[in-house]
C-alpha cells in the first residue's frame, strides 16, 4: 500500500477539497431543485466556517459540536433572511442574495476583533479527517436521496415546475421554500466548517462573489435533475484545473473554454436522465428497424 500513502501525501488536499465542493454543489442543488436561484451559499459557507473556527480556536470545543454550530448558525441566518427575500423570484432573488453575500463579506472584514478582518483567522486546528468528510458526504447524500422520494421533495419539484399550481395543490409554497433555503444554508455551513479545519487558515476573500459563481457553475454544469449531477459537476470543476496542469499558463483559459462548451451543448447539464432516456429510445428503435 505504499503507492496509496504516496498518493495521499500528494493529493489528500485535492481529495478533501473535492468533498467540500460536492457538499457546496449539493447545497445549491437543494434551492435550485425548489425553483430558486439563490446565490447566498458562499456567504453561508463563510458564516459556517467562521462560527466553527472561532469555536474551536477560542473555546476548544469538541469537533462534533463545532460542526453542529457551523451548520446551525447559517441555518438561523437563512431562516431570518429567507422570510422577507424568498417572495422574490428569478433574477431578483439572485440579486438580493448576492447583495447579502457582500454584506456578510464586508461585515467580516470590518469586525476585526472577532474575525481578524481582512487578515483572516489563523491557526485553526486541522481536525477534518478523510472519514469525517466521507461521513458528512454520505449523510448529506442519504438525506437528499430520501428527501426526493418524500412528500417534501415532491413539493420542491412541484414548486420548481409551477409555483401557482403547487399552491393550489395545498402546498404551503413560502414555508416549503424557506425549508429548502435553510437546509441548503446548513449544508453550505457544514462544507465551510469542514473546510476551515482542513486549510489551517480562512479569510473573507474565500467566501465572496467568485466562490458563489463557482458553486453555481458546479451545479449547472452537472445538472440538477438528480443527485449525480451536482456531484459530477463538483468533480469536474475541482479536478479539471489539476488535469490541465501541463498546459501551464493556458490552464485557466482552457478550463473556462471547456466549461463554456459543456454549457453550450448540454444546457440541462451533464447528467440529464430525460436526454439519456430519449437517446436510449432512439438507439433501440434503430436496432429494431435495422
Amino acid at each position: 500500500m505504499e503507492w496509496l500513502d504516496n498518493f495521499w501525501a500528494v493529493y489528500s488536499n485535492v481529495v478533501l477539497s473535492l468533498g467540500t465542493n460536492v457538499l457546496l454543489a449539493l447545497s445549491i442543488y437543494l434551492t435550485l431543485s425548489c425553483g430558486m436561484l439563490a446565490m447566498a451559499n458562499a456567504a453561508f459557507m463563510g458564516i459556517g466556517a467562521y462560527t466553527a473556527a472561532l469555536l474551536s480556536t477560542h473555546f476548544d470545543a469538541p469537533f462534533a459540536l463545532v460542526l453542529a454550530a457551523g451548520m446551525a448558525a447559517p441555518a438561523l441566518v437563512a431562516l431570518l433572511m429567507g422570510a422577507p427575500t424568498l417572495r422574490l423570484s428569478g433574477v431578483y432573488l439572485a440579486m438580493a442574495t448576492l447583495a447579502f453575500g457582500e454584506v456578510v463579506r464586508i461585515a467580516v472584514i470590518n469586525s476585526e476583533d472577532l474575525t481578524g478582518g481582512a487578515l483572516g483567522l489563523n491557526g485553526i486546528p486541522q481536525l477534518t479527517q478523510w472519514w469525517t468528510m466521507l461521513l458528512a458526504l454520505a449523510g448529506t447524500l442519504a438525506l437528499l436521496w430520501r428527501l426526493r422520494r418524500a412528500r417534501l421533495g415532491r413539493a420542491f419539484e412541484a414548486i420548481k415546475e409551477d409555483e401557482t399550481a403547487a399552491g393550489l395543490m395545498g402546498i404551503n409554497v413560502s414555508a416549503t421554500k424557506l425549508i429548502a433555503f435553510t437546509l441548503g444554508a446548513a449544508i453550505a455551513g457544514l462544507a465551510g466548517a469542514l473546510n476551515a479545519h482542513l486549510t489551517f487558515f480562512i479569510g473573507p476573500g474565500e467566501f465572496g462573489f467568485d466562490r458563489g459563481v463557482e458553486i453555481l457553475t458546479m451545479a449547472v454544469l452537472g445538472g440538477i435533475q438528480n443527485l449525480l449531477g451536482p456531484t459530477l459537476g463538483a468533480l469536474i470543476v475541482t479536478l479539471l484545473p489539476e488535469a490541465l496542469r501541463s498546459l501551464r499558463d493556458y490552464r485557466l483559459a482552457v478550463n473556462g473554454m471547456i466549461l463554456v462548451l459543456i454549457v453550450l451543448f448540454l444546457p440541462r447539464g451533464l447528467v440529464d436522465p430525460q436526454a439519456l432516456r430519449a437517446a436510449w429510445a432512439r438507439l433501440t428503435q434503430r436496432k429494431r428497424a435495422g
Partner: protein, 285 residues
Amino acid sequence: MLELHAVSKNFGGLQVLQDVNLRVPAGGIFGLIGPNGAGKTTVFNLITGLLQPSAGSIRFEGQSLLARKTHQITQAGIARTFQNIRVFKGMTLQDNVVAGMHAHLHYGSAAWLLALPAFRQQERWARARALELLSWVGLAARAQELADNLSYGEQRRLELARALATQPRLLLLDEPVAGMNSTEKTALMQEILAIRARGFTVLMIEHDMRFVMGLCEHIAVLNFGRIICQGTPEQVRQDPQVIEAYLGRDDADAADTVTDAAATLPGTATTAAADALAPAPGGSA
C-alpha cells in the same frame, strides 16, 4: 355552498368586477358564462385566493375565504383547473396526481428519512389512489410517462385528476373543453357527470354552449364585470339581456333581433337553432 356577496375587483382604475353576487348550491353543476373579457377567470382567481377582492365577501360552507392563502383554500376543499393548462410537465402523470395529495399525507421527518412503515404505507396508498384517479380520466395506462408527452386534451384531463386528488368538495373548471375535438368533448362530459355523481359540486367556466347547456343545472351570465342573469339554462336562453350581450343590438329594430336571436342563442348566430339548443348526449338538461 359557495357564496359571493357584492364582490368587486379593480386593477388600478379598471373595474373588472362590479357587485357580483353568486350562490353555488351544493351537489350540482353550475355554469359561469359570458363573452371574452367579462371577468370569469378573475372570479376563479378571487375564489382560490390568487387575487383578493377590492370589496365584498366570499364564503365557502359558511367560512370566509378572504385573506386566506391559496394552499389554505385548497385544504378547505376547493380545487381548480386552469384555462391555460398548468400541469407539472417535468413530472410523471402519477407524480402529478400524488402532488395533489400533499395535504393528505401525514408522516413525520423521521418516517421518510428512515422509510418507516408509516411512510411506506401512506406513499403506497397515494400511488394507488393516483392510479385510480387517472383511470377516472382514462390515463391510468400512461401513469409513468412525463406529463409533457401528453396531448392538449390529455393534459386537461390530467389536470382534472390532479385537482380531484386534493379531495375537494367544490371543483372549479376553467374552460375544460377548450381545444378539444367533439369526441373528446363528449367523453369529458361523461367524466364530469360521473364526477358529479360521486358527490362533487362543480362550478365551470365554458364557452361551448352545447356543453354548458347540456351539463349545468344553474347558469350565471357575466358581462362587463356584472352578473346580468342567473337561472336555469331555459331561463338564461330566453333572457333578452343575455341575447344582447352575445349578439349585440341593432338599434333600428331591436325588438326583432331579440325574438330572432332567442331561437339561436346561446349558440353562435350561424349555428342552427335546433343544433345549438339540443341537449348534448348524456346531458341532464
